[in-house]
């Protein structure tokens, strides 16, 4: 290995570039910017203000913060649904005043005051909701007007109630506790806030109305067309916002036991700024409670700290304005460029050194030498199907294959002219295998492991495995379940080729060449899926050996076949049976003579082999060139290889002219014929095998003739 390559390997194989791309795919990645900003703010302020982080100071700030965050939370929900609420300051003031009045003048119990406050807030919100949701007024203008109305009502109420409130004094320990009390070091109002925030978070992210809210924000028209009651849900958001002002108003009332003409003035600007700084998009579609919370923390912390540091009037607004502009610009740029960045950053190629392979040239004389035997196959379903990755035949000789439309097609024996859609599953059905009960087990790309019973009922067997702790992407999900086979223990052994790409992006995975594939086992008795092997280079076809204790599986990008023992004396051991093939192996299936058929989806080329040693070049290629111009592995010439249990190559079939089967992803021997499928082909081929057992079927090979 040259020094250059050693450096390259160290750089690209041990520096985890791929993590960055994976982080960017996370929805919460958006929150990183405001979070970092918040931490920075706190760090700076803690340095500037003595005692900033003292428990007393935190607890004091917490009280006001609590009220503010509750309102931000309400407005966040309105904004997620694509609206805006400017009337919060007025509602807040009215509710605070009424809470104080109920406690002091009417001398009602405190919970009643809370109820009144929330109810009045919700009612005012309902007014907004009716106007905006049902009468379809514009949110901005409407809440602007209700803001003025609310302020006028508040002033009139204050005029009426202000003097009587001054003259009474109520001694209520509960009222004082809510206003001044703490549980441990945590102010009561902050506990209220925690409850509200958590419920709001669960509501938005885990409940049906919450999803409806996000759906409306994302696309109002689509939400309407899918049957969501848009009017009602929009109205609901304003009621929530109003009620949150009610809770906050109640807490304000308890904190100060009084309100003044200035209560709540300018609140709408602060709240709006908080939402935007947190990263909630105006016009809906993007946002979360956490975002609102982060924004609220940032805005209020800075606002209070500037006053605390004794800065001049106006400094606050100046900083607030700068912050708002900065946050919005950043947010807009981020939103606009995130997917571009992701596209560029996500593919993180690694260094791979391929050993030289035996030649597959027709005249080379090696066992791999290709020929044109596959050029003369009978064609089945030519032009009717797209993408039969795998093919299989049942005991009645009917032929099954998956298509890229998510269907399982059935061709009827013996002519194979007539066909039907056997079942529709969705996803991209790949590997197929019949179980002992004659159910058809299927690896569905992008979906998981499925089973179709004889009566056509579809069961999802597995869509997830155990999550590994250190993986950034959710590797519990099966992204590319590729091929399967059923062991003598009844378990289904299957491959999940990559955790970084979806099934249709398999070619991109080859360019990256990062081994992230897995071999998994599904246990029908427990219904659980476990990961057997990980870190494989695009594990693909799986086929049980004849000993009932092991199976072969192919690693496409490494061009090798491994054998793994799942039971017996060598349980847990893996051996490489065939290495350094000239083609990229795909599915493996049994042959009638006790050997195994293996498909080559394409052939190695010196250029791509060289490219694999040049991760930097590949990275540059993926960042600068459109996908159409990338250098991919050659998939225009494939073939079928027969090998024995020890990995000796017995026979190779090819289609050199690329007439019928330029690429092959699977083949299945059945009663003296070999049936050939290809993921990019639009046909299935049928080849008469000379000297093969005309009665041999895969099913009987697995389950005996009586099965």
């Amino acid at each position: 290995m040259k020094i250059y390559e050693a450096i390259s390997k160290a750089r690209y194989n041990y520096v985890p570039d791929h993590i960055l791309g994976e982080l960017l795919t996370k929805r919460w990645a958006d929150n990183v910017v405001p979070l970092l900003f918040l931490l920075l703010t706190i760090a700076v302020l803690a340095n500037l203000i003595p005692g900033f982080l003292s428990p007393q100071s935190m607890s004091d700030s917490g009280r006001q913060l609590g009220e503010f965050l509750i309102i931000v939370c309400g407005v966040s929900i309105v904004m997620i649904a694509g609206g805006i609420d400017l009337s919060v300051g007025s509602i807040y003031a009215i509710c605070a005043l009424l809470a104080v009045a109920v406690v002091n003048l009417l001398q009602w119990p405190i919970p009643a005051a809370f109820a009144v406050s929330v109810l009045i807030g919700a009612t005012f919100g309902l007014l907004n909701g009716l106007l905006i949701g049902y009468l379809k007024l514009r949110a901005f203008l409407t809440t602007l007007i209700t803001f003025v109305i609310g302020r006028a009502i508040y002033d009139i109420l204050l005029d009426q109630l202000g003097t009587p409130i001054q003259l009474t004094y109520v001694d209520s320990p509960l009222w004082d506790f809510i206003g001044d009390g703490s549980v441990g070091q945590i102010p009561v109002s902050l506990l209220f806030t925690a409850v509200v925030l958590v419920s709001a978070h669960v509501f938005i992210s885990r409940s049906r109305p919450g999803w409806h809210i996000s759906a409306i924000g994302g696309s109002r028209r689509s939400a309407f067309n899918t049957g969501i009651n848009v009017k009602k849900v929009v109205c609901l958001t304003y009621v929530i916002s109003g009620a949150s002002c009610g809770i906050a108003g109640f807490l304000f009332g308890a904190r100060l036991n009084g309100t003044g003409p200035g209560t709540g003035i300018g609140l709408e600007i602060l709240v709006l700024t908080a939402c935007v700084v947190g990263g909630i998009s105006l016009g809906g579609g993007r946002g979360s409670i956490v975002k609102g919370m982060l924004g609220g923390l940032i805005v209020l912390t800075i606002n209070n700290s500037l006053i605390r540091m004794g800065y001049h009037s106006g400094t606050n607004q100046m900083v607030l304005g700068l912050m708002l502009a900065f946050a919005v610009i950043l947010d807009i740029r981020w939103l606009r460029n995130r997917h571009k960045v992701l596209d560029k950053v996500y593919v993180a190629p690694v260094y791979t050194s391929m050993n030289p392979a035996l030649s597959a040239l027709p005249e080379s004389g090696t066992p791999y030498a290709l020929n044109s035997k596959l050029s003369d196959t009978e064609l089945i379903g030519a032009g009717e199907i797209e993408g039969p990755e795998d093919v299989i035949l049942d005991e009645h000789d009917h032929l099954y294959c998956g298509t890229r439309h998510g269907d399982i097609m059935r061709f009827f024996a013996p002519e194979y002219k007539e066909s039907e859609i056997y079942v529709h599953i969705g996803g991209f059905p790949l590997g197929l295998a019949f179980g002992k009960d004659k159910s058809l087990n299927i690896c569905v790309g992008a979906m998981g492991l499925y089973s179709v019973a004889q009566d056509g009922t579809i069961t999802q067997l597995s869509a997830e495995t155990t999550r590994s702790y250190l993986s950034v992407v959710d590797d519990a999900r099966l992204r590319d379940p590729n091929d399967l086979d059923i062991g003598s223990d009844g378990n289904i052994y299957f491959t999940d080729s990559t955790t970084r790409y979806d099934a249709h992006e398999w070619a991109t995975d080859s360019v990256e060449n990062r081994p992230t594939g897995r071999v998994l086992v599904y246990d029908p008795k427990t219904g659980k899926t476990k990961t057997l092997l990980r870190g494989l280079s695009y594990p693909n076809g799986v086929c049980m050996a004849n000993d009932g204790e092991s199976f072969f599986f192919a690693e496409s990008w490494e061009c090798r076949v491994n054998r793994f023992w799942y039971r017996g004396i060598k349980e847990g051991k893996m051996e490489c049976v065939i290495r350094d093939m000239p083609g990229y192996p795909d599915n493996i299936n049994r042959a009638s003579d006790g050997n195994f058929w293996m498909a080559w989806l394409g052939m190695r080329t010196p250029t791509f082999d060289l490219m694999l040693k040049r991760p930097a070049t590949r990275r540059r290629m993926t960042r600068r060139l459109p996908k159409d111009d990338w250098l991919f592995p050659n998939i225009n010439t494939g073939g079928v290889v027969k090998f024995d249990e020890n990995g000796n190559i017995i026979e190779t079939l090819g289609d050199l002219g690329g007439k019928n089967h330029p690429m092959v992803t699977s083949m299945r021997e059945h009663k003296g014929y070999l049936y050939i499928g290809g993921i990019l082909n639009n046909r299935i081929g049928r080849l008469k095998l000379q000297g093969a057992d005309a009665n041999w079927t895969g099913i009987s090979s697995y389950w005996g003739d009586n099965a």
Binding site: I269, V328, I332
Partner: protein
């Protein structure tokens, strides 16, 4: 515009109708309302609002909104006075302030046009910043008073022509200039195109981005004119005006008059109608000696009524609604 005029009962007509009704009612029942001097006073009282409304109207027609007008009004005038009081010659002060006003408008426009930040946030941030920066860095107090030596020059409040105060003429002048701009220049047409369908305007070759900058510069400029009038009549500028409801009133008269927030509709006429309606209401209620809180309530309820009527006449359709409109 054809589709627009085919609607029989527009918001504009509702507003005119309400305005005429209240006008007639006040004229009959309020002594002293229907007199030349009171009506002139009425117009004078809404002239500042109207001038701001004209700038805001142009921006809204182009499918934007400018929330920084009041800050610009306050700080431009206040800084001008501060400069004078610091001994800077009048013309230099004028040039400096004018330059800053243009710069502020241009920056807002730039952020909206090129950084594609929604106008509501850009101008909100700009308003906060202009006030905050001006108040904390450029002046020592909330109020800037014009010093004695300049009072004779800058006392605009007493200037009258034929009994009509100067503010009314400035308002009329601003309306006229804006009307010429919107009606008779290609840039005015462009503004309507942009408001109507920004993408289409761009596709037919309207220089959309420079146009946005132009609109915000105009708005900033008109705000500064309004600021000059306020300072010229009060002989001082109180920056606390940014805390008042003036900004909301400006948006209300513009939208109320019939310039829809979604752009492309209306004209200067609508600003005038909106301003007059508010003027009539405020004047009548002041004569009635209503308490200020009740005045606000009545004003807001009438506004709410107008937009409810408008929306129920011109129903919004779920299918043709533009995503992201608020």
């Amino acid at each position: 515009m054809n589709a627009f005029s085919s609607i029989k009962f527009t918001q504009e007509k509702v507003v005119v109708l309400v305005a005429i009704t209240t006008f007639v009612i006040f004229s009959i029942f309020l002594t002293g309302f229907f007199s030349t001097s009171n009506l002139i006073g009425l117009v004078r009282n809404v002239s500042v609002l109207g001038i701001l409304g004209v700038g805001m109207g142009i921006v809204i027609i182009g499918r934007g909104v400018d929330l920084s007008v009041v800050s610009i009004l306050a700080i431009s005038a206040a800084y001008f006075i501060e400069l004078l009081n610091a001994g800077v010659p009048m013309w230099s002060s004028f040039v400096i302030v004018l330059g800053l006003v243009l710069l502020v408008g241009a920056i807002s426009g730039f952020l909206i046009a090129y950084a594609e930040v929604p106008p509501i946030f850009t101008t909100l941030a700009m308003g906060l910043f202009v006030y905050g920066f001006g108040r904390s860095q450029l002046m020592g107090q909330d109020v800037a008073y014009i010093s004695d030596e300049y009072i004779s020059v800058l006392d605009l409040g007493t200037i009258k022509f034929a009994g009509v105060p100067m503010e009314v003429f400035v308002f009329a002048g601003v309306c006229f200039v804006a009307m010429l701009f919107l009606r008779y220049t290609k840039y005015g047409r462009y503004t309507y195109f942009m408001g109507d369908n920004n993408l289409a305007a761009r596709n037919i070759g309207v220089p959309v981005r420079p146009m946005i900058i132009l609109q915000y510069i105009l708005s900033a400029l008109f705000s500064a004119v309004a600021g000059a009038i306020v300072a010229g009549t009060l002989l001082s500028m109180n920056t606390r005006i940014v805390n008042s409801t003036l900004l909301y009133d400006v948006i209300l008269i513009v939208v109320l008059g019939g310039i829809g927030l979604s752009g492309g509709k209306g004209g200067i006429r609508n600003v005038i109608f909106g301003a007059l309606l508010i003027g009539i209401l405020l004047n009548g209620m002041t004569i009635l000696d209503l308490e200020d809180t009740h005045q606000n309530l009545i004003k807001a309820l009438i506004l709410l009524g107008v937009i409810i009527i408008d929306t129920s006449i011109n129903q919004r359709d779920e299918q043709t609604e533009k995503q992201g409109d608020i």
